[in-house]
Amino acid sequence: MTTQTVAIIGGGPAGIEAAKGVAELGFKAILIEKRDRLGGTPDEQKYAALTPDLRDTQTALRELIAPIENHPNVEIMYNTLITDAEGALGDFTLKGVQLGKEVEIKAGAVIIATGFQHFDPGRETQKYGYYEFDDVITLTDAEKMLSEGKFVRPSNGEVPKRVCFIQCVGSRDRRLGNEYCSKVCCGISSKQSIEIKKLIPDCKVFIFYIDMRMYGYWENEIYWKAQEEYKVNYIKGIATEIVRKGDKLLVKGEDTTFRRPMEVEMDVVILAVGMEPSEGTKEMARIFGLKQNKYGFIETIGGPLDTVSTNVPGVFAAGACTGPADLEDSVSAGGLAAVKAMAALRKLEAVTA
């Protein structure tokens, strides 16, 4: 029955949790994923450990996915891309392509959970030389290495002695158009610094920051842990540019509390890249006619009190497709979107009856 079916687009943490919520509350969930597996960005980008609890990503994702894999109320459509949609609350028709074949999906409500993509540090600005220096990498590059249980200088495979993170790359930047804080990078840098120190205890790790934004328990669970137990050095003031110095990188910036210029040699520099709306998010906004904010994220209409409803009745958005979000935010929003979608359909049923 269409009015008891919710289509969920995007099989990351928000979408998985939304599908689980819908199914467990007794409606049918159709989970549509463009890749051939669930897990979203943490899986696709090969995250090592999750923030903040440092659990192994694959183990945690398997636990998240397990309840829906063989659930009678859940249908998972892999390798499926939504290309068009029509209809209204209670009667949506989604058109898509699955492995070259056209498919049609009918649902009473839709939850968009198409997430984000990492900022490309080579876009528009090259001040940190991401495409110039092999040893300048991003948080995602570091995650890939860490998930393989290693951390080396990409240029020569050697174990680094000095590593630094540069925070706020692609975030909090009017010139780039990304004025927002990406919310998770401070925590992820701190988490990675712990992972690096675990692998290479002698390595000196620095985090250059403007403000450390470690809200809630991230403060004591990651930031304090990194500083107090793993002796990570936090230094206020982010670097301006990176130049080559022999086979090292010379990171130039200002140490703001000493009010002196600093030039420090590093073996590896990790750019703490922020979040931008994914291509899928922008595409879904277009297909469903959803309002986007100036950054391209889907705009929810309830302010802080309703984080999942959109301007189109029956279409909800959850997770990082609505703006920078951590796992806690995404999963919470996924569950909320399930409830809101089903509530909308129940109300519709009551009126029609």
């Binding site: 107090e228 002796k231 022999g246 600093m262 030039e263 420090v264």
Partner: protein
């Protein structure tokens, strides 16, 4: 751009270069390579935080709350845990730096620190390493040697430790002589026993105890320095040796509680001696007298306007703020005014944590003495008398009254002296 042909191992990169007394620091060295303007050699931070007791030095997240309440920073000492952490992160060798000795362990930073960066544990732990290496300022070393040799930092004869008792009209029972249990064992401590000015309060207290009919005795020549300030200044070995001596001596006698004149002795006996098997009930004399003060019949009205300086080791370290105030308010005719920095927020006289023996050293690193800063605040209240209850303070503040040109405006008195004056 043509590359200069330079032998790699002969490239010199220095921010400051002096050859034969001529400074050659210019930008010439940039010709060869990018120079390092500022770097982080965190080995010093790692060294300090690996010392047992000093781990929390690495916990600072630079909130800066400690600096405005640091009494040394207040007088231009460029100090506070936040700054020490930052210097360590930059690679400054704390063991070579005057910063190692500036802290008076007043505990005002720990009071406000959200991260529990504990200078009270850090300072003795780090200084102990310096003491073992023999890197101690001369005047402090002299106090250590005096203590070691004579049992007191003043270098006075140990045989004369009870000589002050001959200067009072009342009988002061000495445990070894009376050979009986007492209710209160009075641990007099060094400055109260020897110092020409601190002794006045000691003598007054003896008369007060007799007047109140307190059953008490002192250890006399058997007593040695409690060594708390030496411990905090890094002489941990000496402290342990003296603690064991004093505990052994105390255990020879029967008593109900220990009374201390000196808040530093109170701190040692109450908090440190139990670690060496010396578990006693220990009270400061102000705490002891407060509930008894109404029993005293006053003979004289003191027409003083007074203010009170909370000793760091009585207040912040041991939580006693009310007893001295109760005593002051009981004094007939006295008008009591508080200074702005009082109770938990009290300023420091500069004598704690070894500061008592570092005045010459400190003079090179601060713009005015801590005691001078405090005297100015006391004078500004309009008080005639600055009341104290720690034996370090009388002489420190009296010196500061003179050096700040406030003679004739304010005098310094121990609470015991004022009680004695009023009871006649």
């Amino acid at each position: 751009m043509a590359r200069l042909n330079v032998e790699k191992d002969r490239i010199i990169e220095k921010e400051k270069v002096v050859v034969d007394g001529i400074e050659l620091s210019r930008e010439w060295n940039r010709m060869f390579e990018q120079r390092v303007i500022f770097d982080y050699d965190t080995s010093m931070l790692d060294k300090v935080t690996s010392i047992p007791g000093a781990e929390s030095m690495g916990w600072c997240y630079q909130c800066g709350q400690c600096v405005p309440v640091c009494p040394v920073d207040t007088v231009g000492g460029e100090y506070g845990p936040r700054k020490i952490y930052r210097n360590l992160q930059y690679g400054i060798d704390l063991f070579e730096s005057p910063d190692l000795w500036k802290c008076t362990t007043c505990m005002n930073c720990l009071r406000v620190c959200p991260k529990d960066v504990n200078m009270i544990d850090i300072m003795p732990a780090v200084r102990a390493e310096a003491v073992m290496e023999g890197q101690v300022p001369d005047e402090l070393q002299e106090a250590f040697e005096n203590t070691f040799e004579y049992g007191n930092p003043l270098g006075e004869s140990p045989r004369k430790r009870a000589d002050w008792t001959k200067e009072v009209s009342v009988e002061v029972p000495i445990m070894k002589e009376i050979n009986r249990p007492v209710d209160v064992l009075w641990f007099v401590e060094c400055y109260p026993a020897y110092h020409h000015r601190s002794k006045d309060a000691t003598k007054a207290l003896a008369e007060i105890l007799v007047r109140l009919g307190v059953d008490f005795g002192i250890l006399g020549v058997e007593e040695k320095c409690s060594c708390d300030s030496q411990r905090l200044a890094g002489e941990v070995g000496l402290f342990e040796e003296f603690a064991e001596h004093n505990i052994k001596t105390l255990k020879k006698y029967k008593f109900n509680k220990i009374l201390t004149t000196d808040p530093h002795a109170l701190n040692a006996l109450r908090k440190e001696y139990p670690k060496y098997g010396g578990e006693f009930e220990v009270v400061h004399y102000t705490t002891f007298l407060a509930p008894l003060i109404d029993k005293i019949e006053w003979k004289k009205t003191l027409n003083y306007k007074v203010t009170f300086h909370d000793p760091c080791y009585l207040g912040r370290h041991n939580g006693e703020y009310d007893a001295p105030r109760k005593l002051i308010e009981a004094l007939p005719g006295v008008e009591f005014v508080e200074m702005g920095r009082c109770r938990e927020q009290s300023y420091c006289c500069g004598g704690g944590g070894g500061g008592m023996w570092l005045d010459g050293f400190m003079a090179d690193h601060i713009k005015e003495r801590l005691s001078e800063n405090r005297i100015k605040e006391a004078v500004a209240t309009g008080a005639d008398v600055l009341v104290v209850c720690c034996p370090y303070e009388v002489s420190r503040f009296e010196d500061a009254v003179k050096s700040t040109g406030n003679e004739g405006k304010i005098i310094v008195r121990d609470i015991a002296e004022l009680i004695k004056e009023a009871m006649g």
